[in-house]
Amino acid sequence: MSIWFPRLASDVSLRRHPVEGPFALTLRAGNADHLHCVNPAAMTLGLARGMALADARAICPDLVTRPADLVAEAAALGHLRRWASRYAPMVARDGADGLMADISGVPHLFGGEEALRDDLHARMERAGLAVVSAVAGTRGAAHGLARHGGGGVIADGKLAEGIGPLPVAALRIDQATAEGLSRVGLNRIADLLPLPRAPLARRFGAGLVLRLDQALGAQTEPVAAEADAPHFGVRMTLPEPIGKQEDVMAGLARLLDRLCARLALHQMGARRLRLDLRRVDRATVQLDIGLAQAMRDPLRIAALFRRGIDEVDAGFGIDALRLCAPVTEPLAPAQLTSGQLTPAQLTSGQPAPQDGVADLVTRLGNRLGFDAIQRLAPAESLIPERSFLTLPTAYSAPAARPRRPRHRPLILFPPEPVTAHGQPPARFRWRRMSFTTLRATGPERISPEWWFDDPAWRTGLRDYWRIDTREGPRLWLFQTPQTPGWYAQGEFA
């Protein structure tokens, strides 16, 4: 069965925000807006898909338009594909606005093919989507009948008669082939059928013959239904509401066992988890936790939920739990080496040493935000501020620090002005303290990166000095020769 949604994009858009009168979605191609999808009111006025928006406005000044959203359209088709699985086990996308369902052995459940189509049309009409459907013995025939013949049912064994009156374009051939066929007077599929195949293939390519064979069933063409993305969500409904914390934890443990088994089956690990607790009064409490690394260990995850569950207001009780993993990452099974876990740890479920830090990062990150836990990573730049990066620990791997011979301070801070004279200064004030220079090492000139406009480096070149003071502190000072001034930027040990 082929299901075609002739106005999928505009129907989906109008479902959310209905509009009276002519309406169209526009798509920008090159420098001009074109109509992408029009509603029936606009169609009666003579507007059509592909027409320039300026022309359409000339024809119909009160046309309401919205920009087309191809992603939302594809998502809507994906949802329809999932929904259409109520009619057939295998449903595939067919182009950008159609579905192809393999309904072999299904129609009798609905009382016949016509009844099945009626059911589909009634439901789609309620949903506000225009639909054309066709049932035929082959994919090609159903597709052609839905898109070019207005839909219907082709009975078994009558394929040739059924698709005969359709134009040749219904065979899913490209535009050039269809034009070539019409130029030699072959307008309908019925005109092609009695012709000898060899000259046809020689003149118009093997594709035409293949499509013809597929439409007539001489060549098999299965419905290639895409695999559903695994859904990582489990739920539990309770006969009696629960309110105690340990009861919720026990329910969560059961859900986690199921979810983690499913994650393990697909070799995935959860990166975010969401627990919905539905209370008796229909209010829902949502608990979100992020994980510092992908994991699927029920005991460790349960421990991370404990703090959130402590704070939940159970009200009159909780009667349903739902746990899902919105963000997952591939997590290959890891081999446990003997050094990682002792048998006692294995049986007691204690985490391995390297997991303890990840658990800590998870706990900290869920309260402070995962961006607040950082590690330092080397960078290429020689500019002190950009010679290293602070990356979130949860989303980066530790990086070894290559050797750089230059002497750098232990502590770095944004440049602070220093009142100083001389080069290097014999005496200066920094943070309202007076210092006397004991020894000055330098200068080391660092020039700004001209390809990167950094406001802090607009003062130009910097001559860095290490100043050992008589008072003790060893400071990293720099002078900007182009705009005279001294600044302190770091402190040595």
Binding site: Q354, P398, R408, L410, I411, L412, T469, R470, F492
Partner: protein, 198 residues
């Protein structure tokens, strides 16, 4: 426990007692903390206020510390103390450095001690002068000293409070790279007589 404590203290006067929280103040407190962190193995968490401008510079850190140092930026004092307690409670963390902004109360200090004992983790609070808690195991004062030679970095570390031992002053030379320091003899206790000028 008592034996372990004595052994640890007697072996190295600058070693901090494990599984306890210590404090360090003075202008050289961050260098003191990073050097102590470099002296032990395992992950190090440095918890600091989010708005603090000073931070560690990767290329100036002692050897072997950069890839196991984690910075935690806490938005408030409560978050900072909570993060410190969580990190101390975690058994896999080797050392926790924390920079509280306000004076630590006795309750907070005691809680941190209990967390450190539970996780067998060493804690070091980098405090401002006079803002310590009485619950601390030791309190140090760290400051840089001017030195005559260009290649030596002299630091003065004074133990100004000690719950289980005596106080002391050490002058320490550190090259800023390796994890070890050498003790510099006080000027009055030279083995050989100082050379007379001229």
């Amino acid at each position: 426990m008592k034996m372990l404590r004595d052994a640890a203290v007697s072996a190295d006067p600058l070693a901090l007692l494990p599984a306890r929280v210590h404090e360090v103040q003075g202008p050289g407190r961050r260098a003191f903390g990073l050097l102590q962190a470099a002296r032990r193995k395992g992950p190090v968490f440095w918890i600091m206020p989010a708005h603090q401008p000073e931070g560690p510079m990767l290329w100036g850190l002692p050897e072997g510390l950069s890839d196991r140092l984690h910075l935690v930026r806490a938005r408030g004092e409560t978050d900072l103390l909570w993060a410190t307690e969580e990190a101390l409670r975690s058994a896999e963390v080797a050392m926790v450095l924390a920079e509280p902004e306000k004076p630590l109360g006795l309750t907070a200090g005691r809680r941190l001690q209990l967390a450190a004992e539970a996780g067998r983790t060493l804690g070091l609070m980098l405090i401002r002068e006079g803002q310590g808690s009485n619950a601390t195991e030791t309190r140090w004062h760290a400051a840089a000293l001017p030195s005559d030679r260009a290649d030596s970095t002299l630091l003065r570390w004074s133990l100004i409070k000690n719950k289980s031992g005596t106080l002391g002053d050490w002058t320490v030379g550190w090259d800023g790279k390796a994890a070890d320091v050498h003790l510099v003899s006080p000027t009055g206790q030279r083995c050989q007589p100082a050379q007379t000028p001229g």
